[in-house]
Symmetry: C2
Subunit: 479 residues, 2 copies
Amino acid sequence: MELIIPLDNQGNIPMYQQIYQYMKQEIRQGNLKAGVRLPSTRVLADHLKVSRSTTQMAYEQLLSEGYIEAVPCKGYFVSAIEALVEVREQPPGQFVTQEAAGQEGFVVDFSPRGIDLDSFPFNTWRKISKNILVDDNKALFLNGDPQGEYALREAIRSYLHSARGVRCSADQIIVGAGNEYLLMLLSLVLGPNRVIAMENPTYKQAYRVFISQGCQVVPVEMDKHGMDVRRLREAGNSENGTAAPYELPDTAYIMPSHQHPMGIVMPVKRRQELLAWAYEKEERYLIEDDYDSEFRYKGKPIPALQGMDHGGRVIYIGTFSQSIAPAIRVGFIVLPVQLLARYKEKAGFYSSTVSRIDQNILYQFLTEGHYERHLNRMRSVYKGKHDCLMGELKELEAEFDIAGEHAGLHVLLTHRKGMGEQELEQKAAAAGVKVYGLSRYFIHPEHNQYPSTVVLGYANLTEKAIREGCRRLKEAWEL
Amino acid sequence: MELIIPLDNQGNIPMYQQIYQYMKQEIRQGNLKAGVRLPSTRVLADHLKVSRSTTQMAYEQLLSEGYIEAVPCKGYFVSAIEALVEVREQPPGQFVTQEAAGQEGFVVDFSPRGIDLDSFPFNTWRKISKNILVDDNKALFLNGDPQGEYALREAIRSYLHSARGVRCSADQIIVGAGNEYLLMLLSLVLGPNRVIAMENPTYKQAYRVFISQGCQVVPVEMDKHGMDVRRLREAGNSENGTAAPYELPDTAYIMPSHQHPMGIVMPVKRRQELLAWAYEKEERYLIEDDYDSEFRYKGKPIPALQGMDHGGRVIYIGTFSQSIAPAIRVGFIVLPVQLLARYKEKAGFYSSTVSRIDQNILYQFLTEGHYERHLNRMRSVYKGKHDCLMGELKELEAEFDIAGEHAGLHVLLTHRKGMGEQELEQKAAAAGVKVYGLSRYFIHPEHNQYPSTVVLGYANLTEKAIREGCRRLKEAWEL
């Protein structure tokens, strides 16, 4: 075989290294296959018009890293490097999708991130898509409004107003592909050097985005009503019991409708206290993540905090990932009017991340009443699963405290005698059941003051699976 | 009428301001309609249990901002504020889409950003969508791989390898919703304090993203072969003729296949010089934007710079916005292997911004041969338009230099006698034709050393429109 290696004798990279790099890449990419015999160092040197010591050095490097092997009296051969490159086999023409959350060999996975897809209205979705993709809808294939199409924003506004008491105009809404992207945009709008207070435990993805965008995050402990405002005020001091002194927060990220993962529904009084905190100083904002607000089982629904704000200090963030499906990749933020100019200046040039086609599908889903019907159906489906789980958990009440059951799609179990979350997880796993220790939701897991708590989600489980899972848990935990 | 205003007497916001804010919001949102008579300050004060001076101050503030009007002997009335809030009317149930680029009252718009949508394979796209949205494809509605589905990445890899000579594995590819989003991710991967050299003029959206992500951008002038490597080396010094001294760039953003907007195709020698620059120091990278590379009319195609790189210093970025349609919102970056770990650490938690459904549609479009057929068809369509335009521009050659015609979807006209771009634009506009002055592509428009150059795109024009536009231009420019 003849190797054609493009060599650059102008640059500062030594020749042997260029040869080594090139061959390594060819091997890694499978262009040089395992078992292929390579030219001798002499032949290759002649061929490339370089000295033999150059090719020898290149081969030695490849040998030392395991890319090639030397067989005495036979020469150099390409190694089998399956272990080095990730080889994934796949039949041609098939789009392999990850399996639904909750596999990995568990019989029952109480994943808090699942949703029920059996109830997804595939026919409706397909029919809408089909009607949209017609020739005279050409403009749909062009780039649209960076904030999202006005009609969709107006439909979202109308839904938020009636269902959540959110007060805004469509101009305040920004549509984007998922929570993380929108929080990234929001970080740009809020500007650098923000100090963001987050409930602890919290939604870790939001934490990761803020950190990656250069914000400082200050964890603030909760009491039974949610973020502790006294601690929020003291969070800047070093005497607040945490190891590291933080700067004073100017922004608080909260989940009043159903705190994730604690399940706390924040009472009105606490909401007012947080608003008062925000009003005290210029440039203080509350970020209200209204995740999970669609599903409630007890008590009268509390409108969004945003609707109580008459000072323009609440940024509202929501998503259709939970209420329709994660793959929809559509979320939205509602900015206070005074942040709109800043958004336009600092992030308004970012083109929309949601295709106009998808925006149109969602728009029709919302405005033709499908969304309302779907939500009503899902409320009843999830209520059924919730009641089934709560019924099964009755027997555990002697040994466990159960919390967070008034809303959302998961509950928390706390072992009263203090069996650790790892032990609870491991015993469940041994019985084929996956449960989720609470520590994973803490910014600093060592601050977890609930060491005996695990989270059980039920959205993507059938009632049969819920019963089977609970039966196994009772055995595993020796109840 | 009775106004129910939620007042917070715990917070630090004065009462009058709470009343003012609330009423302003109600008026802006149209809950209080123009012409409605408001309660008197006395009645409102009684009703809200506040002092009359409080309601008077609130009303004065509203008066001074034009939200309400005082009519002597009659009272206070809500103003008509169409001018204040953007009121957009829209028939219910209809998704209003922006018109195709190139309206605004022009007869012919030589927009450099258009694409030809008449040739879009609507039927194929619809058929693929329909086949995907079936019940047993449920997993498609869940969240997928943050980098994009492996099968799609493999299809992109295969296309890039054969069409552009890009050498990579699917593991190096990250799929995302559009260029801006991907450049944002890339900024996270490259880390803070990057100093990025950009060709001047350049693709301004990339410039805006880098700035918004806190990078420093250093404009580097081009010669006829593209970015001037000597100037790149000197860009850090203050003696390079620019006003502000910059830091030494460690990254260069270049468009070797068809510089936007200059249309320069970078020769191999210059590419090697840029690679040599990158190899000289650790942590130097070239970002190759391969925009427009699909369409060439003259000369043999030059493979991507990425394929020449054997040191892992080229980051390749591409998109399907131009070759399929902007609304597809799918682009991709190819990272060198040594940046993959950094991507996973710093940005790997960002969920994919492209829905799995859309990824699957594109995957089938690529792997079932539709993309290749579509590209071949578009090449011939655009070649026809290109040749038509070049034929029409023949007569202008006496007074104009024509450049950038070997590739891409636009050309540049430079008036030899030095008529300024504003005059060229204005005279064209008076004749109903939109052309685009080159200054808009400069990082600092005052550095534009081509003051007599305008850009003409032709992708979304029919040949008839091209002929009509050229006829009008000749008249307008008195040729």
